[in-house]
Each structure stands twice: as C-alpha cells, then as structure tokens.
Symmetry: C2
Subunit: 165 residues, 2 copies
C-alpha cells in the first residue's frame, strides 16, 4: 500500500480526455494545446504511463476561456497568461483551505489577486467603453445611409413613373 501520495478524494467520475478529444471538443489544434502548455497558459496536465496527456474538465473550461479572451476580446497570449495566473492563484487559495494559521500570508495572496482582478477589470472596462462608442457611431452611420437609400429608392420610383406617363 505504498501509493504515491495522491488521489484520496472519492474520485467518483473525474473524466479525463486525451489531447485529441480535447482538440475536437474545444476546436483548437493539438499543437496549440501543447503550445499553450509550453507558454504557461495551461498547467501541465496529468500523464498516463505512456506519457499521454490527460486533461480534466477544468482544463477544457480553461481552454475555452482562453479562446474567448483571444478571439472575441483581442487579448494577446501574454495578457491572457497574466489573467489565468491570477485564476491559478485563486484556485490555490481555495484548495489550500486550512482555515487558520498563516493568516497574513493568505491575506497577502488575496490582496494580490484583488490587484490582478482590478487591473483586468480596468482593461475590460476600457474596451467596453471603446466598443460602445463604436457601436453608437456605426448605428448612426447606418441610420444615415439607410435614410439615403430610402431617398434614392423613392427618387427611382418617381423616375419610373415619369417614364410611364
């Protein structure tokens, strides 16, 4: 019974996926998954005996999060790395849940997380603002041009009716 000191929680059904399946599920390539790991965006997943990567549902969620940040929001991988590192810190604190002792250390980590979150929020707020301004501009332009189309349509209709007469 010399188990390597792990897996004691009732491991009911912690699903694990190989890289191929994760790639299919998330829509990113295997290469990209390894790349993200290399760059520190993903924590090194477990491995099976042969060395194959085994991803958890958490990992899958995180990959989807990364893609969101990248594709829809235009963050660079470096920025995303900072953001997910903060996320990691949060996870650590949650798992390190011995509710007393080392309170000052815990306080400090929490404070750092708050700082990171605040910085992220600032960036996001700024982007939202810029985008909403754009949205307004675009809508205004669209309105004006749509009006012009109506005018043109009417002008053409008039021309047609004049030809007929």
């Amino acid at each position: 019974m010399t188990s390597p000191a792990s897996e004691d929680q009732a491991q009911a059904k912690v699903a694990r996926y190989q890289i191929g399946e994760v790639a299919d599920r998330t829509g990113v390539t295997q290469r990209t998954l390894r790349f993200y790991e290399e760059k520190g965006l993903l924590r090194p997943p477990e491995r099976m005996d042969g060395g194959f990567r085994l991803y958890s549902d958490d990992d899958v969620q995180r990959i989807e999060y990364i893609r969101q940040l990248q594709q829809y929001l235009g963050f660079t991988l470096a920025e995303i790395k900072e953001m997910v590192e903060a996320e990691d810190l949060r996870q650590q604190i949650i798992s390190t849940f011995r509710p007393d002792r080392e309170l000052p250390a815990r306080l400090e980590r929490v404070t750092r997380i708050i700082g990171a979150l605040e910085r992220q929020l600032e960036v996001v707020d700024h982007k939202v603002e810029a985008l909403q301004e754009m949205q307004g501009d675009l809508r205004a332009k669209l309105d004006r041009v749509t009006t012009r189309r109506h005018e043109l349509e009417e002008a053409i209709a008039e021309e047609q009716s004049q030809k007929k007469s």
Copy 2:
C-alpha cells in the same frame, strides 16, 4: 488654362503635415504609416515636389480610428481594411454628389455600404456582449475575493487582540 481638373473649392486652410509630425501626433511610427499605406489602410497621401508625403487632418483622424480598432478592439489589419474601405465608399458617395442620373448605380453602392456596416455592427455587438459577460464575471469574482479579504482581516485582528490579552 489646361488645368488637370481639380482643386476648385476655396482651399482656405487645408493643413498638411509631413510624416514625422503625423507620427508624433498619432503615436505611430513613420514606418507604420508607410506600411499602412502599402497595405491599403491609408489612401496614398499627396506628395510635395520632392516626394515627401503630405497628410491631411482627415488622414490623421483615420489613423487614430485604425489604432482604436486595432488596440482596443482587437481587429486584424485585414478586418480594418474592409472597414475603412467601406468608409472610403461613403466618402466617394458624398463627394460624387451629382444629385440625379445614375440613380441605380448610387443605390447599389449605398446598399453595399449598408451591408458592410451591418457586418461590422454584428461583429461589434458580439464583442460587446462577450466583454460584458466577462465584466460581470470579473466583478463577481472581485466581490467574492474582497469579501474573503475582509474575513481575513477580521480574523487577524481577532488574533491580535487575543495576543494582547
């Protein structure tokens, strides 16, 4: 009097800037300005006799617009090119302001502009939505973590007062 058919509007004070000044004003490098021109993001500006580029206020505005799209909104230059091309079409229509004849052609151009604007709006709407969701998530996380900080602070304060007693 065989002028090459141009410049008849009272050209009161159309300011022109050389590339260096434009670079300073907009914060982009000269190299980038030439690059944008090469890629079709900026219309080729006027030149003076020696070949130096002369930018207008319109050009400067456009450069700032491009930077907004790129930096805050995460559009690629290819996407931006599409967007500013639509803008160009609008300008052309405004300048080509002979109010009758060729009405169907004008209608078609207007319709194309509307299509482009609608596509842009769709993209922007999507991004705004994604960002606002993020914003909510971040705020929620921040709330939770801030609560935890208060708890920790109180716990520490308690510990302190116990030491004193």
